[in-house]
Each structure stands twice: as structure tokens, then as C-alpha cells.
């Protein structure tokens, strides 16, 4: 359980995280989405007590990180890939963390086994690939068998096999009742992994909702129409109150009327239709729409007004 309340981080006059409030609950994978530079890593560092909030606060299991008696037994985190001394072996890296929190050697070997690094555990970490570094970071996060887990961009640098492995790992950890908080700038990745998403842009909360609802709520539903009599059809649709826009590929996108209404309208003109295809936005598009708005500081109607503007 992670709870952020008006969490704010200011660097000079730049607000990296701005009045962020959210809750991450146990038992599900919660995705933390936002474009690069949106404040995801800063937020995660504040959860871990590494960066001090300028105002507001964040607790883990009801306590500030600083007050946890055995931090690694309660919270595990992968914050950055390859944050390892290149001259130290993977086992020594885990060993030095384990010793602080009274974690036995057996557990060190166990997490090495879980992440598949047993065979290279004695090698200097400087020789590790980015993917191996990620695995070692994940091993460090799992070390104390914690209830709360944070992963900052865990699939970066992994091959497809590794990505699938991380996905299974995250889902497995959540199914055991743990709190799993995963950041990513890739919507598609979160669509496959997260049950719930927290979306931020420019340090501000844009939305927190179940992944499925994100798609459903999207205002990006439209109907793509192709027709030799496009101009006539468009004038008529506008007259009926639909929002239309001619796309770069020559098709017409129509919002506000469904494919049945458009088809019937076309028949009354009459106009021949070459395509009449309802489009639902991909999760990626829904996310782009949400974060674009945050970048432009505009309301939800931005794309609509632009479309109608094009038509005029």
C-alpha cells in the first residue's frame, strides 16, 4: 500500500512533481505511466525516501520510508538499471544489502536463482549487459521478500523473452497479495501488465483508473469514411452536428454519429461509400491524447476544436 498526498518536488523554479495524490493498493499491478520527464522516477525516489519532497508526503504501509524498521523486508525497488559497482560481483552486491537488513546468505542465492543469474553470480557486474543489470536490480528488490515492490522501467534493455519474464513476475507478485508499482513510458507494455494505471504528465496526476476503463472512456472513438463524394457527405454530416475532419490519407473521420447513422445519411443523399469503419482508439492513442493535453495545458476538447477548425 502506497499513498501519496499532495506530493510535490521542486527543482529550482521547475516543478518536477506537482501536488500528486494517488493510492497504490495491494494485490494488483499498478502501472505508473507518463512520458519521459513526467516525474515518474522522481516520485519513486520520494517513495523510497531518497529525495525529499518539497511539500506533501508519501507513505508505504502507512509509514514514511525513513521510519521503517527493516526497509528491505517491507519495500523492494528497482530504481535504475546497472546501479552497481562495476568491480563488484552480483553476489557481493546483494550480500552487502542483505547484511544491513539481517537477510541470510540463503536468500541471496535464492533471488539469484529467481532472476537466473546464478551462473554469473561471481562475475564482476561491469561485464553485465543492460538486461543482466536489470535482473540484478530485480533480485535486489526481491531480496527482503517485501510486500511492496517498485520497479522503474523494468523492461528497459530486456529481450522479448526477458520482457515476458518480467510481466509474469509482476503478475505473480501481485497475485500473492503484494503491492506492485511499475513505471513505464510505454502504454502498450502497461496494457499487458497493469490492472490499474496512474497517468501523470508534467508532474501532475492526469488519471487513475482501471486499464480497461481507460480505453472505454477514451474520446477517440470515431468512424472512418471513404467516399468519392466526400465533400457533399462532409457538408451534410456537419449539418447534422457531427464533427468531421479530412485525414492525411484522404479519409474522413467522423465523431458524434455512429456508423449506422452515417450509412443511412449517405443513402439519403445518395453518396457511394467505399469505407465505413468504426475505429476505437488503441490504448496507446488514449494515453497519447491524455498526456498531450497535459503538455499543452488544454482541456479535453482540444482535438475536437482542431478538427472543426480544419473544416472551416
Amino acid at each position: 500500500m502506497i499513498e501519496a498526498t499532495s506530493l510535490t518536488k521542486r527543482y529550482g523554479d521547475k516543478l518536477a512533481v506537482d501536488q500528486l495524490s494517488f493510492g497504490v493498493r495491494a494485490g494488483v499491478v499498478t502501472g505508473f505511466l507518463g512520458p519521459n520527464g513526467a516525474g515518474k522516477s522522481t516520485t519513486m525516489r520520494m517513495i523510497m525516501g531518497l529525495d525529499a519532497p518539497s511539500s506533501g508526503g508519501v507513505t508505504v504501509n502507512g509509514r514514511h520510508y525513513h521510519d521503517l524498521p527493516w526497509p528491505l523486508h517491507e519495500v523492494g525497488a528497482l530504481l535504475e538499471a546497472k546501479a552497481i559497482h562495476p568491480g563488484r560481483s552480483a553476489r557481493a552486491h546483494l550480500q552487502m544489502l542483505a547484511e544491513v537488513n539481517q537477510i541470510g546468505r540463503a536468500r541471496v542465492d535464492e533471488v539469484l536463482e529467481i532472476v537466473g543469474l546464478t551462473s554469473v553470480a561471481g562475475q564482476r557486474a561491469g561485464k553485465f549487459s543492460l538486461g543482466m543489470g536489470q535482473r540484478l536490480g530485480i533480485a535486489a528488490a526481491l531480496l527482503g521478500d517485501p510486500e511492496v515492490l517498485l520497479f522503474d522501467e523494468p523492461v528497459n534493455g530486456l529481450d522479448p523473452d526477458g520482457i515476458r519474464w518480467v510481466r509474469n513476475l509482476l503478475r505473480g507478485l501481485a497475485s500473492e497479495g503484494r503491492t506492485v508499482f511499475v513505471s513505464s513510458h510505454l502504454m502498450s507494455e502497461m496494457a499487458l501488465t497493469a490492472d490499474e494505471v496512474i497517468i501523470i504528465g508534467q508532474g501532475r496526476l492526469i488519471a487513475q483508473l482501471p486499464t480497461g476503463e481507460l480505453l472505454a472512456q477514451s474520446s477517440q472513438r470515431f468512424v472512418r469514411v471513404r467516399s468519392p463524394g466526400l465533400a457533399v457527405l462532409q457538408a451534410r454530416l456537419d449539418h447534422e452536428g457531427a464533427l468531421t475532419a479530412v485525414e492525411e490519407d484522404g479519409s474522413l473521420s467522423v465523431r458524434g454519429l455512429d456508423e449506422v447513422a452515417i450509412g443511412e445519411l449517405a443513402a439519403t443523399i445518395p453518396v457511394v461509400l467505399h469505407e465505413l469503419a468504426p475505429q476505437s482508439a488503441s490504448l496507446e492513442e488514449a494515453y497519447m491524447e491524455l498526456t498531450e493535453d497535459s503538455v499543452e495545458f488544454h482541456g479535453g476538447e482540444t482535438s475536437m476544436t482542431m478538427s472543426t477548425g480544419e473544416r472551416a
Binding site: 525516489r45 520510508y65 524498521p69 560481483s89 552487502m96 537488513n101 539481517q102 526481491l142 497479495g177
Partner: protein, 279 residues
């Protein structure tokens, strides 16, 4: 790779160890850190080789020229300090290790893992200081004693030579080892404040070797007032048997106390900055 086998854990069923993390775990962790990187072996190895090796060269050289030395030179010859001077080079190696103990954590990013495991940062600094300080002290004392004994063995009669029972000799040998360990902690303090390896090493070398050159360029009246405060001066006084807290120097133990005070202030500032700055 198959689905990972993670120990199942119910949300509130997790049993934590009693009490909370503390200094004993941190001391073990810092010891692990120190012995699992090569830079420790390199810097300490250089300390041993340079300290003992150059001492042997210096004393052997003096022995070979003894017959041609003027009576005045013979009279002012201090066999103890001759066998210890090489340890002035050792302080560079010890200092570099002191810097790396802290700066390497920042350079590699492991500092965030360290502070995640132990969020009370001054406690981490205390553990680092204790472990590094103890290792530096043991190595420095060994080098000081071996350098002295090898040096005196090479300075056989008729050349003047000392033994540990020579007045002031034991103080010089033990004190030189202490001086090296404290100068290492001084470097650790600098690195805690500066956080970057290159910057901290530059500052360390600057304070140790460049500042004395600048001081030497000052008018005598000013120079005499401040020279005694220079760490290098304090070290030289400690190595010498004849030093008796001359007009422009502190007595050996007073000097070491001053150096300890610098180090304590630096470590205290470092501790405060560790807490106030983001990791």
C-alpha cells in the same frame, strides 16, 4: 525462463525480525563493500609497497653515503624520520581509498541501494568511517612499524640508527600510523561533502600538497603563523623524533589533535549534507 518461484506472502503475515536495522549490520555491509572491490587491494597494496620499499631505499642510500657525510649532517640525521618519510607518499594512496569508499557509491549509483537498505544516512557514514578507519589504521601501523624496523636494520653501524626504545621513536612510529589513518578519514569526509571522485581527490591533493606550496610563497611573517596548521606539516612533525613543538609547529600529539578536529568537522558537515541533499 519459467514463471519465477517467489515465496508466497500474505499481506499482513510477513514476520519481521525484532528491533530494527542498525550499526552492526551496517558495519558488516561496509566490510563486505570494502573487501569486494579491487580498488581496496590496489590502494592498500600501493601503501605497503611504497611505504616499506621507499623507506628501505632511503635508509640504504644514507648508509652507503655515511662515510662521506659531514659531521654536521651526521649530527642532525634522524634515523627514525628517514625510515618513515616514505609514508608521506602513502597518504595519497590511503586518501584515494578514503575518497572512493564514499564517492564510488555516488559514481556507480549504489548509494541509492545503500540508503534504501538503511535510510538513516549519518549511521551509514558512521559505519563507513569505522570500517575504513579501522582497516586504514591496521595497514598504516603495520607499514609504519615494518618501515621503521627494515630501515633501522639497513642503517647498521657505523651509521646512526634507532630502535623502538630510542626516546621518541615509538611515539613517531605509532603516531605516523595514526596520522595516516586520520588523513584517510579526512579524505572520506571531503568525499562525503564533494561526492565526486575526481573533485574529492583533487581537493585532497590540493589541501595536502598544493596549499603548502602556496603558503611557502607568502611573506615569512604570515607563513610562520599558518604553517603549523597544514596537515602535511603535522605529518612531518609526527615522523620526526627531534620535533619538540618548535616555534612554528605544533607538538606531534597537538598536531594530530588538530588534524582530528579538521576531520571531525568535515565528517560532521558531510553527515548534515547527506541528510539535507537528495541521494
Amino acid at each position: 525462463m519459467s514463471t519465477p518461484a517467489v515465496n508466497p506472502v500474505g499481506t499482513s503475515m510477513k514476520i519481521l525480525p525484532t528491533g530494527h536495522y542498525g550499526i552492526s549490520g551496517l558495519l558488516r555491509s561496509e566490510w563486505t563493500k570494502l573487501r569486494t572491490v579491487r580498488s581496496t587491494m590496489w590502494t592498500l597494496g600501493i601503501t605497503v609497497v611504497i611505504g616499506i620499499g621507499i623507506s628501505a631505499l632511503a635508509t640504504a642510500e644514507t648508509r652507503s653515503h655515511w662515510a662521506t657525510m659531514s659531521p654536521g649532517d651526521r649530527l642532525s640525521f634522524d634515523p627514525t624520520s628517514t625510515s618513515l618519510t616514505a609514508l608521506l607518499f602513502c597518504q595519497l594512496a590511503i586518501g584515494v581509498l578514503g575518497v572512493l569508499v564514499m564517492s564510488a557509491e555516488y559514481g556507480t549509483g549504489t548509494i541509492r541501494a545503500t540508503f534504501s537498505a538503511a535510510p538513516r544516512r549519518p549511521l551509514v557514514l558512521a559505519a563507513k568511517g569505522a570500517v575504513f578507519g579501522a582497516v586504514a589504521l591496521v595497514v598504516s601501523e603495520v607499514v609504519a612499524f615494518v618501515s621503521f624496523l627494515v630501515g633501522q636494520a639497513l642503517l647498521s653501524a657505523p651509521a646512526a640508527h634507532a630502535s623502538l626504545s630510542t626516546p621518541g621513536a615509538l611515539r613517531a612510529v605509532v603516531g605516523t600510523g595514526l596520522y595516516l589513518a586520520v588523513i584517510g578519514l579526512f579524505a572520506l569526509g571531503l568525499a562525503t561533502v564533494i561526492r565526486h571522485t575526481a573533485g574529492a581527490i583533487s581537493a585532497f591533493v590540493g589541501i595536502l600538497l598544493v596549499v603548502p606550496i602556496i603558503v611557502q610563497a607568502l611573506p615569512n611573517s604570515i607563513q610562520e603563523g599558518i604553517r603549523r596548521f597544514l596537515p602535511l606539516r603535522i605529518g612531518v612533525e609526527m615522523m620526526s623524533v627531534n620535533s619538540g613543538g618548535g616555534l612554528h609547529s605544533f607538538a606531534p600529539w597537538t598536531g594530530l589533535f588538530v588534524l582530528c578536529a579538521y576531520t571531525a568537522v568535515l565528517l560532521a558537515i558531510g553527515g548534515v549534507l547527506l541528510v539535507s541533499r537528495d541521494a
